[in-house]
């Protein structure tokens, strides 16, 4: 399916009056997938999701159906489903739009996924700052209880499910799978060491699945239209690479930064960054050229202008040195912007958000921020660049020095910015000039 003939799936109901109400959702054919799923066996639902090739939309891109199969086969107590709505990756706002505009689409996905995973209690972990989402979701869940879409014996199927809406703890780390679980349990959101993985021992020491909001929104459509329909969209798996799981289905791309038309667009997986900016983001603002583009949230690193033709699917950004697709939140940086300022801003964010558990992340993020602060103050040294590179290569789960991926997210902007814009850093340091952009308050 080409991008031109693609009609939005997840955003199909966006902008319709009262799109967040149950009545309008049902009028548009909502909850038909739930009825279909409840008539199936739970393992059949998993098989359909597995066959569709759906990969988690939260950032890591782990195959959703496969994740569900890691749950224990024998049921000796509750299994929990946690919905990760702690959307806090800079530049990302797809969950927010999905929840505010079409909460029932997400909730229908949650009920189907809960049924598939034999969950009877699901927790919706919602970013605290999303006040409107909270109100919309709360009303939507109330409506569902009133209409036998939640609670006991859903739609007469004999299946029971409760969904608890939990407001988050205002920290980036709460969006990490096990940090979320700890936070949900009322603790400090310190990611857990693995193993055991959540599918074996998660929330309240029970098997747990954590899925992203956008992933949930895809589920009803897969059940309604089938796995093969889902696979007509996106980039098929690379036959030469047995580890590639392909990038199927529609994806919400968040466009922000120096573009004329920032916003959220839905497209089949695999559009190039250049097309996305030019065709859907209205081009770079003020008639300028792009200097760098963040492919999927700041933690994925930077693509340079030359690399903009890279397809934004699960494999694409990795091929140009980025960490991955992430949340597909594209941030455009124009050629009037100093990469030193951009990188400083990214590092400052991660130093602020590091949970402080592992030494390399806690100290490394703060140190790199301090170094960049000094460079921005005109007191940089050329050797600082190598120190930054050394920090970036020694923190994270990829070298194995931290528990969670936050440090990888902190390392990649550093790595990619310095590798791709090293001459700019050198020139800046040698000039000894001070940054013209304001220093943000509360910096480390």
């Amino acid at each position: 399916m080409s991008n031109e003939e693609f009609k939005p799936v997840l955003l199909a109901r966006q902008g319709k009056p009262n799109s967040h109400k149950l009545a309008t959702y049902k009028a548009d054919g909502g909850y038909s997938a739930l009825a279909i799923a409840l008539a199936m066996k739970n393992t059949e639902v998993i098989d359909v999701v597995k066959a569709s090739g759906l990969r988690g939309r939260g950032g890591a891109g782990f195959p959703t159906g496969l994740k569900w199969t890691f749950l224990p086969k024998e049921l000796n107590g509750p299994i929990y489903l946690c919905i990760n709505g702690d959307e806090s990756e800079p530049g990302t706002f797809n969950n927010r739009v999905l929840i505010e505009q079409d909460p029932h689409q997400v909730l229908e996905g949650i009920v189907i996924s809960s049924f598939a995973t034999r969950t009877t209690t699901a927790y919706f972990y919602l970013r605290y700052e999303y006040g409107r989402c909270y109100r919309v979701l709360k009303d939507a869940i109330d409506e569902m209880y009133d209409n036998n879409l939640l609670g006991k014996n859903i739609l007469g199927s004999g299946y029971d499910l409760d969904v608890h809406l939990h407001r988050g703890a205002c920290a980036y780390i709460c969006g990490e799978e096990t940090g979320l679980i700890e936070s949900l349990e009322g603790k400090r959101a310190w990611p857990r060491i693995k193993p055991p993985f959540p599918a074996i021992e998660g929330a309240f020491r029970r098997p747990t699945v954590v899925n992203n909001v956008e992933t949930m929104a895809c589920i009803p459509h897969i059940i309604n239209r089938g796995a093969s329909w889902f696979m007509t969209m996106g980039i098929p798996k690379d036959p030469k690479n047995p580890r590639d799981a392909g990038s199927y289905g529609p994806k919400l791309y968040c466009i922000s930064g120096h573009v004329n038309k920032p916003g959220l667009v839905e497209l089949p997986m695999g559009i190039s960054a250049r097309d996305l900016i030019d065709k859907h983001g209205g081009g770079v603002w003020k008639g300028r050229k792009a200097k760098a583009v963040v492919p999927g949230g700041i933690s994925m690193g930077f693509m340079s202008e030359k690399e903009l033709d890279t397809p934004l699917d699960f494999a694409g950004p990795g091929s140009v040195g980025c960490l991955g697709l992430g949340t597909a939140a594209v941030i455009v940086i124009d050629d009037h912007t100093s990469m030193i300022d951009v990188l400083y801003n990214a590092c400052r964010f991660f130093a602020h958000e590091s949970c402080g558990q592992c030494t390399p992340c806690r100290e490394g993020t703060a140190w790199s921020t301090k170094i960049l602060e000094r460079i921005r103050d005109g007191r940089g040294k050329l050797s600082d660049i190598d120190v930054l590179l050394e920090i970036s290569s020694s923190i994270g789960t990829i070298p194995g020095t931290t528990i969670c991926g936050l440090a990888d997210g902190a390392a990649w902007p550093m790595k990619t910015a310095i590798h791709k814009f090293r001459s700019e850093f050198e020139e800046y340091i040698q000039s000894g000039r001070k940054s013209e952009s304001r220093t943000l308050a509360g910096s480390h």
Binding site: A171, R188, W190, I193, A351, H352, E353, S354, C355, G356, Q357, C358, T359, P360, R362, E363, G364, T365, A366, W367, K370, I371, E373, R374, K381, S383, V387, E390, S394, T397, I398, P399, G400, T401, T402, I403, H444
Partner: protein
């Protein structure tokens, strides 16, 4: 059993071992901060990163692509651990450089210097210089963190051992982490200081100089301290301890790991309860009642002792032979009326020396067990959220209500020599004693009014004790004795574990170790030697035959399996 290869050294590791323990078996140190045997694994300090691989059955070696924390990684048959590769060394250097970024490097005024893992590991694994060019984060010291504990916030490496201790072992959960990232600090909630009875352990657990004991703070550089392996005499748990002394002064007690006794920790009652050994009111020399003194002076008590040209007055000269003759006299007059009271603060050896001596003179001499101090009921940890005691099986530490170290050991001696166990209360109730030999050694006053009244004024009253009491005031003979820190000996704890304690310091003034007093009194040849006596006791007393080896090892030996240790 699992065959594990650590840096090409093959060892048999336990299947439950993590990499740190397996490497320890091979004599290889994997540096670590956050991991502690008694606490949960958090794998957050990242000091113990190692390379781990597996030797497949066909002999091929597959190394993992990433560094893994040694604390979190279990070993199995064929596991290969590398701690000496360039990758591991670089990671260790980086971790140490990062840990030292905001560290004040104030070793010169830090109490931990000399036993600090930040110092040691930096010396062994770190870089010589830091590349930090920016100002360090400065933080406020927190003297309010506990009555006995001060927190030097900027020295902290955020290993969270202390936080986990208060959550998992004491159960009181006073300590916690506040703030985030590099601004993290250990703290307490306002008005809830870390004052539980196990709080002092967080100072030992702290691998750096962040948590310091206020009691020990700035008192002594640790490299001047000499350690003696001993046993805490505060209660019948009998925690294994180190007694750290310098120039005849004990500065601190520290727990010594002993899986058979208490585990890794000790309580603050024991830890800070040793001050009485340096109390100025201690009995410092033997004393004879005036009537006896004049009799003894004709017996050359005041003669000068001379070694070569040196002449000095030795108050012990002839006191013991005089005491001996008085004991003989009293036993001759009324053997049944001679009562020796053996305190549960005595070591097994001392109890044996006195009991065997008196019984050898006359079988009718009575031996009784001195007061057994009991305060409240056993205090068990971890506490629940409301301060409730843990359920059976979940107990990780117990402070026992029986506040003496060796009731079982002295009882074993008494049962052997006396046949039955008679308590002091029973003995005074019979009111037929004509001569008393009291052995005290209690850390607190023990002579109650009723004992005082019941003893009255017998024909002979001998008191061997460390503090003056109404009895010693009017005793005919007072023998100034020793505390646990001043003598070697064996103590049997609540579970029947016999542990050897070593003396650390000398007695104050002219006081003498009980063993030395009794060796001379009983006219035994040679000096007091706990090991030799243990061998003898093991032969003579069947219930104590486990002591026959003489050497009780690091952890001690069980003399009875009547009660299992609560810590395992």
């Amino acid at each position: 059993m699992a065959k594990v290869t650590v840096n090409d050294i093959e060892v048999d590791a336990d299947a439950k071992d993590n990499c740190i323990l397996a490497a320890r078996r091979a004599g290889v140190e994997i540096p670590h901060y956050c991991w502690h045997e008694a606490l949960s694994v958090v794998a957050s300090c990242r000091m113990c990163l190692v390379e781990v691989g597996e030797k497949k059955p066909d002999g091929t070696v597959v190394m993992g692509p990433k560094l893994v924390p040694g604390c979190q990684t279990p070993v199995k048959d064929g596991t290969i651990i590398r701690t000496d590769s360039a990758k591991v060394k670089t990671a260790q250097q980086m971790t140490l450089e990062l840990l030292l970024l905001n560290h004040p490097l104030d070793c010169s005024i830090c109490d931990q210097a000399g036993e600090c893992y930040l110092q040691d590991y930096t010396f062994k694994y770190g870089n010589a210089a830091s590349r930090l060019d920016e100002p360090k984060i400065q933080r406020m010291d927190k003297y309010h963190i506990g009555e006995q504990i001060a927190l030097f916030t900027d020295r902290c490496v955020m290993c969270t051992r202390c936080v986990r201790f208060t959550r998992e072992i004491s159960g009181t959960a006073e300590l916690q982490v506040t703030s985030r990232g590099s601004h993290e600090e250990i703290d307490v909630f306002p008005d809830t200081p870390c004052d539980n009875k196990l709080a002092g352990n967080v100072v030992d657990l702290c691998p750096v100089g962040a948590l310091c004991s206020k009691d020990f703070l700035y008192k002594k550089r640790v490299w001047w301290l000499k350690s003696a392996s001993s046993v805490c005499t505060g209660c019948s748990t009998g925690c294994s301890i180190h007694v750290d002394q310098n120039e005849e002064k004990v500065y601190r007690l520290r727990p010594r790991d002993n899986p058979l006794a208490q585990g890794h920790f000790m309580c603050d009652d024991g830890r800070f309860g040793f001050k009485y050994i340096h109390d100025e009111r201690r009995l410092q020399k033997p004393k004879l009642a005036d009537a006896f003194a004049s009799a003894a002076s004709s017996n050359n008590l005041s003669k000068m002792n001379s070694y070569g040209d040196l002449k000095f007055a030795d108050p012990w000269v002839d006191v013991l032979s005089f005491t001996r003759s008085k004991i003989k006299e009293a036993i001759k007059a009324d053997a049944r009326g001679f009562v020796a009271v053996l305190s549960p603060f005595m070591s097994v050896e001392e109890a044996y020396l006195l009991a065997s001596y008196l019984k050898s003179m006359d079988k009718r001499v009575r031996l009784v067990l001195g007061c057994v101090p009991v305060v409240g009921s056993d205090d068990k940890y971890p506490k629940g959220p409301k301060g409730e005691s843990p359920t059976a099986g979940k107990v990780k530490f117990t402070i026992r209500s029986e506040k003496c170290p060796n009731r079982l050991g002295v009882e074993a001696i008494l049962r052997h020599f006396e046949g039955e166990l008679v308590t002091l209360d029973q003995a005074v109730a019979r009111a037929d004693a004509t001569a008393w030999y009291f052995v005290g050694g209690y850390n607190l006053g023990w002579v109650t009014e009723s004992i005082d009244r019941a003893v009255g004024k017998p024909s002979l009253l001998i008191v061997q004790d460390i503090f003056a009491s109404p009895l010693s005031e009017r005793a005919d003979i007072v023998l100034a004795a020793s505390t646990f820190a001043e003598r070697d000996g064996t103590y049997v704890n609540h579970s029947g574990l016999a542990q050897a304690a070593r003396g650390a310091v000398r007695c104050p003034g002219d006081a003498r170790a009980d063993g030395r007093i009794l060796m001379e009194l009983t006219e035994r040849k040679g000096l007091f030697n706990a090991m030799t006596l243990r061998k003898e006791i093991g032969m003579v007393v069947p219930s104590l035959k486990a002591l026959a080896d003489g050497d009780l090892g690091e952890y001690g030996v069980k003399i009875s399996t009547a009660r299992e240790p609560l810590y395992s």
